[in-house]
Each structure stands twice: as structure tokens, then as C-alpha cells.
């Protein structure tokens, strides 16, 4: 299997539902607004306006063109991040998912520097899900948020799924400070789906698993599946004349395929 995602930008309404779903699915830590302003917010799946930097001219008001891009990890076939990791904390598994092991990461941040897409995030402080962070947020947004104070996600709000094992800590697992984290295409969901198929004594099918962002997508703009299967939705969509990949010129061969807006 070669997991791949297709994002139809024509259907994307830039609602950021994928970002929120990802956040809850993967227990990504919240940061204080002051930290977020510094650029330390952790968004495995980010939605941002294009062009993001003033190198591309899009006209002057009112003659402007506005576009949005939603960006998970590209799960490159030739990932620059895993090539530079000195300790194999990040690796590409046999199904093409680029994963990150928090228990192994030494925090040198070479992968964050090497990734041209900026999909990798560093835990600058102890990851917080504490009530102060949330209250800070609530105060900024003029809402009340009565939540219990914990340094880990409150059990009723946290995703209990874990990938933990001998020297292995991945996915939604609670991570320590000073390590890098990233989008895994919700690899814990894949493991769960596999386990379910095994428990029911049948073969696992590729359509039994999608990441949280695909499941939640408001405009049904995201498709997920096996690129090795020529009849899968992603394989068919990848042949579309609208299909392109992000930063194709840097030679990473991403497995996230975008469909251009009409």
C-alpha cells in the first residue's frame, strides 16, 4: 500500500475544519497567544492564504486574487527530513508514511530545517494543555472555558489512542518538550483499522481507514486511499489534468496531490 491524499482546492472552502479535527485527533498542544504570535503554534494541518510571502504579485485592491491552501504533511516519497535525521527518529514506513518517534528525537531540528514545506513542529516548551493556556485563549476570545487544570489533556477531551511501545512514542501520544512532531496521516487510525480487521478475521481493505482531516472535511475536498491500487479514488484523481504537487521543483515527490482550482 502507498497511502496518498488528494485535495481538491476547488472544493476547499478554507473552513479550517481539517486543522481543528487534526488538533483533537492528535492531541497537539495548545500554546499561549503570545507564543503563537512568535510562530510557535503547532498546526499539523495548516490552512493559510496564498501567496504567503510577498514574492508573488496578485494585484492591488480591488483587483486581487485570493487563494487558500490547506497543507498536511506531504509524506514525500523522497523526504528530505528523514535523510538528515541523525538518529532515525523520523522514518518512512513500508507504506510510505513519514512518521516521527518522540521517544527517539534528540531535538536537533535538522528535519525542521530540511523540510521545504514547514510541516514539522518543535516543542519549544513543555507541551501544555493546562487550564492557564485555555483561559488565556478564552480571555482573548471573550469566552468562558471552565476546564480542569492538568499538564496533560484532560481525559474527557483527549484522544486516548496511543502508539507506544519499546522506545516508541508516536501519533497522539503525550510528548515531552524538546522534540519534533508532525502529521502522520493519523497512523494510529490505520493501526486500529488493521487490528479490527484482524479481530474480525478478514483481510484489511484500503477504504477502512482515513485520517481525521479527510473524515471531517466540510466541502468533501479531501480524498484518501492507496496509490498502488490503480482503481482507487486517489489513483484516478491523480491522473486528472488538474493534478499538481506542492513545490515539485525541490524533488521531494510528495504523495499529497492537489487538484487545481478551475
Amino acid at each position: 500500500m502507498r497511502w496518498s491524499m488528494v485535495i481538491d482546492l476547488d472544493k476547499c472552502v478554507a473552513c479550517q475544519g481539517c486543522s481543528i479535527a487534526c488538533r483533537f485527533e492528535n492531541n497537539t498542544p495548545a500554546v499561549k497567544p503570545s507564543e503563537a504570535l512568535k510562530g510557535r503554534a503547532v498546526r499539523w494541518n495548516d490552512v493559510f492564504p496564498m501567496p504567503i510571502n510577498p514574492t508573488e504579485v496578485t494585484g492591488e485592491y480591488p483587483n486581487v486574487q485570493t487563494r487558500y491552501l490547506t497543507r498536511p504533511c506531504m509524506h514525500c516519497d523522497n523526504p528530505p527530513c528523514i535523510k538528515v535525521c541523525p538518529v532515525q527518529a523520523t522514518f518512512k514506513d513500508e507504506e510510505g508514511l513519514v512518521r516521527q518517534n518522540y521517544a527517539r528525537c534528540i531535538g536537533c531540528r535538522f528535519c525542521t530545517v530540511a523540510c521545504p514545506y514547514g510541516v514539522r513542529y518543535f516543542n519549544w516548551h513543555v507541551p501544555e494543555w493546562s487550564v492557564e493556556t485555555l483561559h488565556d485563549f478564552a480571555w482573548q476570545n471573550r469566552t468562558s472555558l471552565p476546564l480542569p487544570a492538568t499538564s496533560v489533556p484532560a481525559p474527557e477531551y483527549a484522544n486516548p489512542d496511543r502508539i507506544e511501545g519499546e522506545g516508541d512514542l508516536e501519533g497522539p501520544a503525550i510528548r515531552p518538550k524538546g522534540v519534533v512532531e508532525k502529521c502522520t496521516f493519523c497512523v494510529h487510525r490505520l493501526q486500529k483499522a488493521r487490528a479490527r480487521a484482524e479481530a474480525e478475521g478478514r483481510a484489511f481493505r484500503a477504504d477502512e481507514y482515513v485520517p481525521a482531516c479527510v473524515q471531517t472535511c466540510t466541502g468533501k475536498a479531501r480524498f484518501f486511499g492507496d496509490l498502488d491500487d490503480p482503481r482507487s479514488t486517489v489513483s484516478l484523481l491523480a491522473k486528472s489534468p488538474r493534478a499538481f504537487r506542492l513545490l515539485e521543483d525541490v524533488g521531494t515527490h510528495p504523495k499529497v496531490i492537489y487538484l487545481r482550482e478551475w
Binding site: 510557535r40 504567503i52 510571502n53 541523525p86 538518529v87 531535538g107 536537533c108 516543542n123
Partner: protein
Amino acid sequence: MLKVDHRDKEKLIDPLFRTGPRFQLAALAFLAVIGWGVYMYLRQLILGLGETGMTRPTYWGVYMVNFIFFIGISHAGTLISAILRVTGAEWRRPITRVAEAVTAFALVVGTLQIIVDMGRPDRLIFVILHGRLQSPILWDVVSVTAYFLGSVTYLYLPLMPDAAILRDYCTDAPAGRLYAPAWQRTLYTVLALGWRGTRAQWERLEKAIAVMAVFIIPVAVSVHTIISWILATTVQPGWHSSIFGPYFVAGAIFSGIGALFIAMTAVRKVLGLEQYIAERQYRNLGLLFVTMNAIWAYFTYAEHLSIAAGQQTEEFPVLASKLWGEFAPGFWAMIGLMVVAFWVLVVPKLLPASAARVPVFRPRYALASASVAAVTGFVLVSSQPAPVSLVLAAAERAALTEPAIRTLGWAFIALLMIGVGLGVSPWLKARPVTASVIAAACVVVGMWLERWNIIVPTMTHPRLIPYAVYQPTLTEVSLTAASLALFGLMFLVFFKLFPAVSIWEVAEGRVIEEAQSKIVIPAPEPSEMKRLRRWGTRH
């Protein structure tokens, strides 16, 4: 008992056994800065790397700059002790020890920067347990470790006969002039490794040094090449460049000579070694320094020209930020410092001694030009400050914002700076040591800025992430200061324990010089004949 020239004994051995208040004061000052740095590091360790100014996308900052800077400085030792030894440059003898010490200590401080920069320093051992040799960081670990072991060996080998001399000379009588406590005597005895100065021992030592000298040159080249590859193997705009390897090696040797100038002048001044580290050393090292300056300028130009000509959408903003954007002050300061270093070393040498009689070449004219340049610069840089607005009318102030006027202003400043340079040249000509130290200071600061200009503009101008601003915090500034202090302290303690000039190497140099002076001058080269016929043998 090994024999030592009485001059060497007086100048090099005696001061080791006199501890004055100056030493204690300097050590205390260094320790205070280091203590503060340790406190700030512990704070960062507990709270996280968020205490630095680093963010997404500026994942690397001052620590990485310091790492490249210190490892760069460590190339001083290789150049002096290895390259000059291999090429048989006799003038190297009095400065080999200082150069080798710079190498070893800069490597320690440089490696510390990486540990300080790590999010999980407690997992450092993973680099060995789970190391992937495909990662440039592993290449770096291997080459820096090899270089460190090689440098320490290389510092130690020529130290062995000196340790033996010290072992023989220091006494255990507390009232004695060369009194050394028991631990110090043990240290010398252990380091001397039973050195008796026999012929066999000398031969073995010479062979070992010769082998190390050849071995360490490729290792040193590899160290800074691999550091550059850490950047160049990524696809980040501005780093993905094939020139980075040689560019970094040239820059490393360049900054190494700068650090060596400062270190050897400090040793010379503090210990009064004017007879050992003489103007000959400054002159010859200065020639190498100018050469490296030219090579560095060439590489810098080549590197930036290709980016400027390519005008690629990701790369060009990085260059633009350096040329006229937010990194322009640092970039042009770097260029300015290098030009000053070049001028200080070259122009006074070119100037004939009679130039001092021309009224232009006076320090007071230089001072006047500098003042005018400073005022002009202030008017150009600051936007409508109170003193300027009081003097100038509104129309004049408006004119100051016009590009043509501003260009003219900068040209005027450049012209004035040439005046400054000419004015101080005879003064510098009379003081070659001071000139060398000024040039060295310019280069060391300029090379730190160069690493900053390579790391930070690229980090703050990534693809797909909004351009960022990077501001180092107090934590980073403190740890940088502490790193410099640690470097200073290691230097101080080392030269409290060991002679700053290799005693036996200098003595050997004297023997060689004496022998050479008895040699009959051979017939001149045919190509020289014409010159000799015309000018005779005078220089």
C-alpha cells in the same frame, strides 16, 4: 636534567610559577560570566528552548552561528602547526603552541554549542546508539571528533619535551622560586611520559609530529566542509550551493588566523614575549591573512552573484534581505569590516615612509574625516531626529529622503572613509602589531557576522511559511558571552600551566638558524643575475 637556554628559562618558565593578582582577577571575571551562562543554560534546560528567540521557521539561531564560528576559529592550529610545519616555514616556531591551543579550546567550545542547541541533550548518546551515517550530522560528529582527538594529540606531542623540562625544573620547596604543588608536579611527570631527550626519543617524536601534521590537514578541511554540507545538503533557499564547502574552509582558516593574531598578541603583551613573537611573525602571518581575505572576498562575491543573477523566487528574497532588507546592516557591516581589515594590512605597507611628511597623512585629519562621516551617516540613517530637524529646513529634510541624495550621501561617506584610511596609514605603518590586531578583530567580528548572514536570512525566508523576524534573547546572548569566557578561561589556565612558546621548538630554530648562517651562499639563480647585476645584493 634537560638543558634550557637561560633566556628561555627566564621568560618562559619562571612566570609559570608566579601567580599574580592579574591572573586571579582575570580568572574570576571569566568565571563570573561562565557562572551566569550556566545559570541561563539550566534555566533553558528546565523551561525549554522556547527561552531562546528561535521560532518556526527560525529553527536555528545564534547557537548554530556560534558553532560554525568556533569550529571555524579552530582551523588556526592546523594552518600554523600543520601546513607551516609541512612546508618548513621556520617563523612558525614561537606561535605553534598558541595556535594549537586555540584549535583545541575552540573545538571544545564549538561542540558545546551543539549540545546547548539540542532540545533533548539527555539523548545525546542516541547519536552513537542509533546513529544514521547518512545524516550530515553524523558526518559532523565523526569529523569533529576526529579533529578534536587529532588536535589534542597535536597539542600534546610538542608539549611533551616542554613538560619534561618543567618536571625537571620545578621544585617541591615551598620557598623556592619554581615551587609547584604536588599535583602540578605529578601533571608534568605524567605528561612528560618519561621524556629524557635521548636521540631515539627525538626521532620518534619528530616522526609522530610529521605524521600528525599530514594527517590533520585533510581532517581539518573535512570538518568545515561537512559543517557547510549540513546547510548545503538541504534544499533551503540560499544554502543549496556547491561553493559552500571551499567557502567555509577558506572562511574558517581566515577567522582562525584572526583569532590567532588576537591570542598571540595577548600572550605577547601579558607575558612580555616580544623577543619571541616578533614582527617577523606578524608580517608573515599578515601576508597569509591578506591572501585569505582576498580568497574569502572572491568566494563571497561568487556566491552572491549566482543568486543575484538567477533571481529565483525563493532565493532572491534571501539575498535582497541582505543587500537592502532587514539584514543589510549586518551584511554591510561584515563587508565594511573585511575592507577595513584589508586596508589596515595592505595600504600602510604600500605607503612609502616619506608619505608621513605629506600633511594629509595625519591621524588628526583621519579623526576629522571620521567625525564628518559619522555626522553624515547619522543624518542619513536616523529619520528626522531632533538635532537634524533643528538645523535643517523642511525642504532640506525632504531632500534627504530622495534616493539620489541618499546615494550621494553614502558616496560622500565612502570618500571620507578613504580619507580616514589614508590619514591613519602612517600611524599604522609605525605599529604593525596594533594594525594586525585591529585587522584581526575586524575579521573575527566580520566572520561571526558572515555566519549570521548565512544562517538567519535563509531561516527567516523559507518557502510556504510567512517570513519571520529573529531576535536573540538574553539567554542566547548570555550563553554566547559565557562561551567566549570559557574559551578565555581555558586559555588562561592552560598558559598558567604550560609555556606559551614551545621551548624546544624555539631552541631548535636557533640551532638551525646558526647552522644556516655558516653556510656559504651558493651561486645565484640565472634568473636573478640580471637583477643582481643592476642592483647588487642590497634589498
